[in-house]
Amino acid sequence: MTLLEAILLTVITASTPLLIAAIGELVAERAGVLNLGVEGMMIMGAAAGIAVAITTGSSAAGVAAAILAGMALAAIFALLVLGLATNQVAAGLALAIFGLGLSGVVGAPFVGVPREGIGKIAVPWLSEIPFLGPVLFRQDPFVYASFALVIGVAWFLGRTRAGLVLRACGESAAAAHALGFKVLRIRFLALLFGGACAGLAGAYLSLVLTPFWTSGMTSGRGWIALAIVVFASWLPWRAVAGAYLFGGVTILQLHAQGAGVPVPPQAMAALPYVITILALVLIMRARGGGSAAPAALGTPFVPDR
């Protein structure tokens, strides 16, 4: 394996959790709901994933538990913002705080318990392609899942009737309601999908990337996923570019630290956060002030019978 291949492999592993979480949040936001609690759902997925995987000895059970944990938190959020029409920003913050705390409580008995990570699967034939094969097709199942999610979501949002209805709920809830669509039910399903993706992304952190539990191990990835959605202008394909840009920066700063670049390691560690801010500013500049956000994003909807 060449050095370039090795670097690309680590970039993919760093980018995959960002991509999975971002694609889930993208669907929720296209339906008009801003869920700022990605960080909380993600870390709950990480905690529930490793807790169940260690207890049952099955990685698959761990992944399932992570997805369910993410969905459960999303359901609480949905109850507040859809059922009770509360402020979405505040409810999302509450979800982030709640998830961070609950993951600490759930994960406490598992601190420092080592565990074998989920292995990689080589796709027959395709993994034999020179260069591309080992990089793209000798990966862990999560990477394949992230590819499938992007393709599936892009197809769903762009090419299906149901996807069109979901986007209508995000552009004008009142119009979608007047046409007879169940806005709240559609938004609820979109939120659940976002929660499942965030949980899955969390499972990737605790079962593959660093296969043990540490409190606060998401370290802001959920928030970066939110930024990726903005950066991607709410388009699934661009979310891939965003996630890989941020994953690449993370790996770049690790390599720079290892290579002894004469900069304090803290400055290097701050790079992904600074790049996130810069990317947000540049994308807004490139759009010239116009917003690509779904028009009804963040506004509660109360149907009048």
Binding site: L36, G40, I76, L80, L84, A85, T86, N87, V89, A90, A91, L93, A94, L95, A96, I97, F98, G99, L100, G101, L102, S103, G104, V105, A108, S215, S219, G220, W223, L226, A227, V230, P264, Q266, A267, A269, A270, Y273, V274, T276, I277, L280, V281, M284, R285, G289, S291, V302, P303, R305
Partner: protein
Amino acid sequence: MRLVLEQRAETGWALRLLSPLLAVALALVSAAVMFAALGADPLAALHAYFVLPLSDSWGLQEVAVKATPLVLISVGLAFCYRAGVWNIGAEGQFLVGALGGAWLAVATHGGAQGPWLLPAMLAAGALGGALFALIPALLRTRFGASEILTSLMLVYVAELLLDWLVRGPWRDPAGFNMPQTVTFSPAATLPLLAEGGRVNLGTPLTLLIVAAAALVAARTLKGFEIRLVGEAPRAARFAGFDAKRVTWAVFAFSGALAGLAGIMEVAGTLRQLQPGLSPGYGFTAIIVAFLGRLNPVGCLVAGVFLAVTFIGGENAQIMLRLPLDATRVFQGLLLFYVLACDTLLLYRLRLLRSAPA
């Protein structure tokens, strides 16, 4: 049968007062369930959490010490949220304020220090917090970048900046390589209110600021402008109020208060810089602001309540071996309930008997 929300024509004052109390009651019941699920006696846990911190002079002083930064930060945040400006990076502004003030204390340590030092430190802290808060304000008003994400990202940057300073240039040369600065000299330390006690001058100062902020919010044109921009941006524009200026003003104000809270924590309680100097005050203050109904006096009451949960959480960890993160779960739950109960102010829940059309 199904439940629907129906808009209220107006909200009575009793309901406004009752809603946060109902939220607290619901959060307490949920906490009891959580404690039982963790294998602790719920009553003993609630006692350790909410009664013990208030039952002796040491506990009460500790509550005042912890409530001070919470109240100060949340008062600033209340102005932001009133204006519809989402500053969620108060934790970073708190840290940069602490750095700004501590810089003076470290730079003059063992040199020319005088009575000018302490006021200068407080001013530098407030200035540092305000300048750091103006970054997301600038990115918002100039480029339209979401202040939610930029202000939060800056928290991580501030944490790393603090980490670098206390491990690198500002480390105490005589500190056995520990990541901390020198212990501040008496001239750089906020005086205690009573000899041998824990409460310092920062607490009465905070009370003064709460009173002033309450006056500004309720009785001045500025307070009205902030509320109008938040609640009716179109009407505010017709009235000639500049939403960008309001964004700058509330960010600068809340950043200054968070920075002041930071330097008062360092100069009054810790007396040196160290990594992890905040147990998440900047984030808990968000909950305080909402529980306090975005009202300075409400923030005072709510800040005391959440300070109790910090100390109660430590009690419960020592006495009942409950994980410290249980406090965060309680705080998150509390914000859920506060938001849910606030819905009752705007809407009434109505049970429909007929099948939905």
